[in-house]
């Protein structure tokens, strides 16, 4: 009996995913736990291990949108069985760009389903197409609101007028010219707006579109924090070293307890203040920004936070983060200190309402009690959604963080 290859539900919220590619061709032998295919949701890329040994039969081609629990292929006992199950339409590995329809999951015994156009096709009205062409818009980047997701005039207008964000593009190559051909530009590299990039695209734009963002800057002495870290590391022995980020997360979570209203979100009609403090940590592991969450950070110790943070980094590197790991943050910390950045203007991770930007720690001449001396200084940049948090409460929140960094005992 052939083994079904089924799209797993990666977390509570996932309903569908894109089958990015098969790592094997139809008819090839696959061993259990070899990465057989790559899925991509709007939050993560997931390399799916093979559920067993067998000869691969492919039902859904790369590029197809797949529903959770849908059977996308089989691991058959032999080549003959694989062929009978749908191995006929051999898909070259990494045939990512070819959109094709998923075969009906409940018809494994029937003839192989011919790939039909539906999955990857962008439906749009003729008018929407001509408008998009006229304005150099990529239809793939526009969300259709018409029947069956058809892109209609209103959708193009919304993009043109800046009223809606462009939705993730499916196809790697935009159909419309990005910049007028003037002979002065040559495309050196073309990168698909997909996967993590797609999410970043959407979130960043949406955040700036929707929120009224204000960034406050301050500088704090990191002296006590450095001391704290040294002590904790000494206590940890061979355990993982404590990162500054862990301390920053703790400081932010504790500060939120004193300023609960910064831990909020709005739909334009009400502001909801959250009970939990789930602190997101912005990470860039080379493929784009992801923001895993440290849950209930205000209830956890720095050491505990540090450990969880380490696990999240490992999972991110291994690409095993689940969508739920990335969902439902309430506030975010982002750290650019490693790149010698001091102040910057972080963009709030919508729909949160605040983000703390952490700069480098650098020795600076400072005046203490009328004397110039050298101290390790840290630049903090807090961006708040001014719709929810006014300047003064925002500044007060930042001041509390500053106090906690400078007097870590306050975090207790």
């Amino acid at each position: 009996m052939a083994i079904e290859i089924q799209v797993p539900k990666l977390g509570l919220t996932m309903e569908e995913a894109t089958l990015v590619k098969w790592n094997f061709s139809a008819g090839q032998s696959v061993k259990k736990d070899e990465i057989v295919l790559v899925l991509e949701t709007d939050k993560v890329t997931y390399e799916m291990p093979s559920p067993g040994d067998g000869v691969l039969a492919i039902l859904a081609q790369g590029g197809t949108t797949i529903k959770v629990a849908e059977v996308v292929g089989y691991l058959a006992a032999d080549e003959a069985e694989a062929a009978s199950l749908g191995g006929g339409a051999a898909a070259a590995p990494a045939a990512e760009a070819t959109p094709a329809a998923a075969a009906p999951a409940e018809a494994p015994k029937s003839a192989p389903a011919a790939p039909a156009a539906s999955g990857g096709r962008v439906k749009s009205s003729p008018l929407a197409r001509s408008m998009a062409a006229e304005h150099g818009l990529d239809l793939n980047a526009i969300t259709g609101t018409g029947p069956g997701g058809r892109i209609v005039r209103a959708d193009v207008l919304a993009v043109l007028e800046g009223g809606a964000q462009a939705a993730p593009a499916e196809a790697p190559a935009p159909t419309a010219p990005i910049q007028a051909k003037c002979g002065l530009l040559t495309v050196a590299e073309e990168l698909p707006v997909s996967g993590v990039r797609k999410v970043v695209f959407k979130n960043m734009h949406q955040s700036l579109q929707e929120q009224a963002q204000l960034t406050l800057h301050t500088e704090v002495s990191a002296k006590e924090m450095i001391e704290l870290r040294k002590k904790l590391n000494a206590l940890a022995g061979d355990g993982p070293k404590i990162s500054y980020n862990a301390i920053m997360i703790k400081a932010v979570a504790q500060a939120v307890k004193l300023h609960p209203r910064v831990n909020a979100a709005t739909n334009g009609e009400v502001i909801q203040v959250w009970k939990e403090v789930h602190v997101g940590v912005a990470m860039d592991l080379g493929e784009g920004l992801i923001v895993p969450k440290v849950r209930d950070a205000e209830t956890k110790s720095v050491v505990q936070i540090n450990r969880e943070l380490g696990e999240l980094v490992e999972q991110a590197k291994a690409k095993t983060l689940m969508p739920d790991d990335l969902a439902a943050g309430t506030i975010t910390v982002t750290n650019l200190g490693a790149w010698d950045i001091d102040h910057f203007t972080p963009i709030v991770n919508n729909p949160e309402s605040a983000i703390l930007g952490v700069g480098r720690i650098i020795d600076k001449p400072v005046v203490v009690d009328g004397q110039v001396c050298v101290a390790p200084m840290l630049a903090l940049s807090l961006t708040i959604d001014h719709r929810i948090i006014d300047g003064a409460p925002g500044a007060a929140f930042l001041k509390t963080i500053k106090d906690m960094i400078e007097q870590p005992l306050l975090m207790l």
């Binding site: 009205s125 003729p126 008018l127 929407a128 001509s130 018409g146 029947p147 209609v152 005039r153």
Partner: protein, 327 residues
Amino acid sequence: MSERKISASAALAEALHDEMSQDESIYILGEDLTAHAGIFGQFKGLPEAFPGRILDTPISEMCIVGCGVGSALTGMRPIVDLHFSDFVTCAMDELCNQAAKIRYMFGGQVKLPMVVWCPDGAGLRAAAQHSQSLESWFVHTPGVKVVVPSEPADVKGLIKSAIRDDDPVMFFQHKRLFAKEGPVPEDKDFIIPLGQAAVKREGSDVSLLTYGSGYYLCAQAAEELAKDGIEAEVVDLRTLKPLDMDTVAQSIKKTYRAVIVHEACVTGGFGAELAARIQSELFDYLDAPVGRVGTKDVPIPFSPPLEDFVLPSVADVIEAAKAVAYR
């Protein structure tokens, strides 16, 4: 402008009176014309005003139309009353093989000025053989012009143009609209050229392209749609051949959406032709597929609930308009 309101019947009689007074070669022939001035009273006053020029015929549709053809070829300007448009079937050879083709197949030697006046349409509980809307048959026949007026002023302006035209014109006038009143200019020179549609209500969200009785459905639907914030533009095509595609195009370039409304049954109706032309000529302006509203594809049944069910309604027009407007 004159605000005088008269019925579509009166508008027809007035126009015929005007034209017959000016041109002796015009005469009317058909069944049962003089006793009641037409079975719908549509020729009121004419038998008295023009004795010998309103001719009762035997029930001989082939020969009635044939008489029109033969007399048109020999110097007359006949107006043929077909009694009910359904009876075109009895004279199809005369209409389609003779009238439509004679000028062309004889190399343009002759003109054939004939109006075939066809009372058509449903709603009178007249059932399958007295209720049809058959205009698209003639649109499909090269060599005849096809006029389908709606309001009384259109009847007057268009029948005059049809009479003055040197080619065979099929003139379909809806039976249920004879009594409908509307402002009609008294001017004897008031004419509406064939091939000129009228934008009877301006709107920005959807074009309702219609003619004949469909106009009244659209006018009412447009008022309802406005309450929901959808501004419909009502284009009364008035003549189907020649078709005023310019006005259709202007409207669609403004609204990007079209619904075609006619009383003829949907399949193979004029809407099919118009939708095809819209998609080929205005493809890039379309934001939605062209909608069509018409009678369901059955003969017109007798019993009121049956007939009402198969005929297009204001609600059908509203629904179709909302569908193409994505509302």
